[in-house]
Symmetry: C2
Subunit: 223 residues, 2 copies
DNA sequence: GAAACGATGTGAATTAATTCACATTCCAAG
DNA sequence: CTTGGAATGTGAATTAATTCACATCGTTTC
């Protein structure tokens, strides 16, 4: 099954919900419960889960631990990635704390920064190194993924270095689009853009089309 | 014209590019240039720009300042919003610096936090207040938008308070989905989820479908 | 054990998003 | 002035995403 990145994105959300915010005592979950939690339709959820090769039981819903297990199998295929934060300023530091122990398969094992006041010490449990050592450590420690939190002006340059050093994926927080060779995964989070979007939808009455606002689980009519 | 939130999102990106990372000396921009910068197709860009009621000139492209003006008109309709950051921990502080003076129509004018060590002082140029004063200040200072950076466990509760205080839009960084009444705009940034997505696309060979990777401006064949 | 219920799984229909392809336009060159 | 070229604007086609609607099936109840 070739899952689209939309489906993939929703699967990660289902997993997060199930592992962290679903009552432990419930062993089964209904598609409409998941749907309500993420504001989607129940049929959407069922469609997404179809990609897993795991099937729920008709009257009961989906067995939670089994479901999680299958999402894991599909999403991270048992792989474990070492992650580095590049740029240990405000945002970088915030992310280190924020992502701390959130997902077992993704370990932040290093940070890098230009500023000598930041490098060569441990920040939020993550050892921070000077930029000079980037290549050496990315290779040596088998760092596969980088979180880029450098200023926009440095983003492309640093990204190029990372790629050359062998990084396989970049999560870019710098407020500029960066360009990578095919084969290196890229995900950009443009915070300003998101803020602007909120602003936009507060002014106009238009509601983002796809959104299904309050819980609203619709039960189909039976003929 | 009723723009979908996808179009709207891309428009913000075009604007950011044009205002911040486009050579000042160039007065015109081609659809394929914009497209290359954000990794989209040229026809996509043209479609998006159609929503603006502004038209480019055939051989020259789009006049940059005029284009920006029109995007502004559509996107923020001249409105100016006061914004507050709720939760002034690592992430909150990072966002204050990051969003500082990035967009003129969105002003971060206050922060709130439980922790007495953070409140009642100015952080990164933003006055930080104790949570008790949330309602009072949201109303008094006409704060329309909140950036939510509190821990997941507090997110829904704080969101409810914000809504009751009259907030019109929330940008949620807390790693839980929150639920708002219709009429209050919501945008969620799930950082973990994005990181997982990068990880996913590094392992598998699947490239996110819609993405058009390297610059690749395709010129149509003429019959 | 039979019947009713209430969930799933999934073709088919619908709706949304994107791309194609080309007529149109306007500038530039001759 | 005329011609050619290189871009735009946009119906139409295509592709992707979502929703509908219902057959199906495992549980529970009687």
């Amino acid at each position: 099954m070739n899952l689209s990145n939309k489906v993939m994105g929703r699967l990660t959300r289902y997993r997060a919900l199930l592992t962290e915010y679903f009552p432990k005592e419930k062993t089964y979950v209904f598609s409409h419960e998941l749907a309500a939690m993420v504001s989607l339709s129940a049929s959407q959820v069922r469609r997404d889960l179809m990609c897993l090769g795991y099937f729920g039981v008709p009257r009961y819903g989906y067995e939670v631990v089994e479901l999680i297990k299958h999402i894991n199998r599909v999403l991270d295929a048992g792989k474990l990635h070492n992650v580095a934060v590049v740029g240990a300023g405000n945002l970088g530091q915030a992310l280190m704390t924020f992502l701390e122990s959130r997902r077992a398969t993704l370990r932040i094992i290093a940070a890098f920064d230009d500023d000598p006041r930041l490098s060569n010490r441990v920040i939020n449990g993550v050892p921070c190194h000077p930029m000079e050592r980037l290549e050496e450590l990315v290779e040596g420690k088998e760092i596969r993924i980088a979180i880029l939190c450098v200023p926009g002006s440095a983003a492309q340059r640093v990204a190029d270095r990372l790629v050359k050093a062998g990084i396989k994926g970049i999560l870019n927080f710098a407020p500029v689009p960066i360009r990578l060779p095919v084969g290196v995964a890229l995900e950009e989070i443009d915070i300003t853009s998101h803020l602007e979007r909120v602003a936009f939808f507060t002014t106009t009455r238009a509601t983002p089309s796809k959104e299904r606002r309050p819980t609203q689980v619709r039960l189909r009519a039976r003929s």
